[in-house]
Amino acid sequence: MENSIEIKAEEINFYYGTKQALKNINLEIYENQVTALIGPSGCGKSTFIRLLNRMNDLIPHSRVEGKIYFEGQNIFEENVDVVSLRQRVGMVFQKPNPFPKTIFENVSYGLEVKGIRDKQTIEEKVISSLNQAALWKEVKDRLHDSALGLSGGQQQRLCIARCLAVEPHVILFDEPCASLDPISTRSIEELILDLKKYYTIVIVTHNMQQAARISDFTAFLYLGELIEFGLTEKIFTIPKQKMTEEYLTGKFG
């Protein structure tokens, strides 16, 4: 299978103060594919995904070494505009975090930040984003109600719509189904499978079966190291590393 590389991480080390959380990670993320990061708590998967749009910048006393190339540029270079980077590399978090505003405003907010003023353009974009996030039908009659009145699954899809509105190239999902019931989980999983036609997706998940179901590539991290990376169907059937096999079969973690 030929895939072009969207993001390339080279020799990434990351430190929280003196504690090293990531050790010499080299990883390629392929375009229009779903890459899952799995591993026990504290393995560094969330730390790694947050580096991809520099969310870790905000953590005091943290330090990163190495390079992450995205669209031909190392994202840690000084001249990189972080706001623009985060528009191109969007993120959806574990707990749905809609703004305490209306459903419409939640999606239109990013567009306004981007400087779009034309009402019609904003409206069209809001509708198409809600549609793409498979939420439009459920909310079209209550666009101006508070987003906080939506169910957990709907709130998470709203957060996805909010992320889509600013037209990212990559979407990072940090345990997006952790606080959802099985039905909402299935709808988010189906949505991710649909979105990968248009976006590159990286997902951190504690749920190994979720990684198996929806990802094309899987990276297994342990104690800050990348133990194994490869096609999901290979990782889950014939892993090369003994440690991956033991983690998958529940012997540790």
Binding site: A212, R213, E233, F236, T237
Partner: protein
């Protein structure tokens, strides 16, 4: 892709595999009748390699589906049955190669029309059985599957008659011993393909109805 779509594409893979095997049977019988060496060699060299590649690919798909999706109920039965059908198809392909190899040894001898007549009939019914067994799997049609199982008796009867005739002739005329044994071998291989088609149908009935019919299990 959702697991349902993956199962559909697994079925498509098996259809392609079965079409290849059907073609192998067809070519080896045509090669036998028309003494067409090219066809026989095609079966033995090109087609068999392709059949082996299919077997490995389907094995991998089935294993990955179970590991990735942990299917339950009918989804699980379909994948497990696909795994078994895959094995049956590979064995059928081997039998087709056996037929081609034997037919190749008969290329230089004059046609034995009277003995090959029944073999042809058997081959025709058997090809239909294979085709319908795969159709019954794809369409999840247990009625068609049961019909295929019945046709196996016709093939068995034909083989019995054919065998008796050839053995009779061999007893009367020693010189045809070698050719007679070759034709018996071909008939035996066709009969095994029919048996394997029946196996597929028994698995289809299990997949659709969850009912075990092989080894007359329901009467045990």
């Amino acid at each position: 892709m959702l697991v349902e779509e993956k199962i559909t594409s697994l079925k498509h893979e098996l259809i392609e595999y079965a079409t290849l095997v059907e073609g192998m049977i067809d070519k080896s019988i045509k090669g036998l009748i028309n003494k067409n060496k090219g066809l026989l060699i095609e079966v033995m060299e090109k087609d068999e390699r392709q059949a082996n590649e299919f077997e490995i690919k389907v094995d991998e798909i089935c294993m990955a589906l179970i590991a990735q999706y942990q299917p339950k109920g009918k989804g699980l039965r379909t994948i497990l049955m696909s795994y078994k059908i895959n094995n049956d198809l590979e064995r059928m392909a081997d039998h087709a190669v056996n037929i081609a190899e034997t037919a190749l040894t008969l290329i230089e001898v004059p046609p034995m029309t009277e003995y090959v007549k029944d073999v042809l009939k058997m081959a025709e019914i058997t090809r239909g059985m294979l085709k319908d067994s795969i159709d019954s799997f794809v369409r999840e049609d247990s009625v068609l599957a049961q019909d295929v199982c019945k046709r196996d008796d016709v093939v068995d009867d034909l083989r019995r008659v054919n065998r008796r005739e050839i053995i009779g002739s061999m007893c009367a005329e020693c010189s045809i011993m070698e050719v007679g044994l070759d034709i018996l071998r071909i008939a035996r291989n066709i009969e095994r393909i029919a048996d394997l088609s029946t196996n597929i149908c028994e698995d289809v009935i299990f997949m659709v109805e969850g009912k075990v019919i092989k080894h007359k299990f329901d009467k045990m």
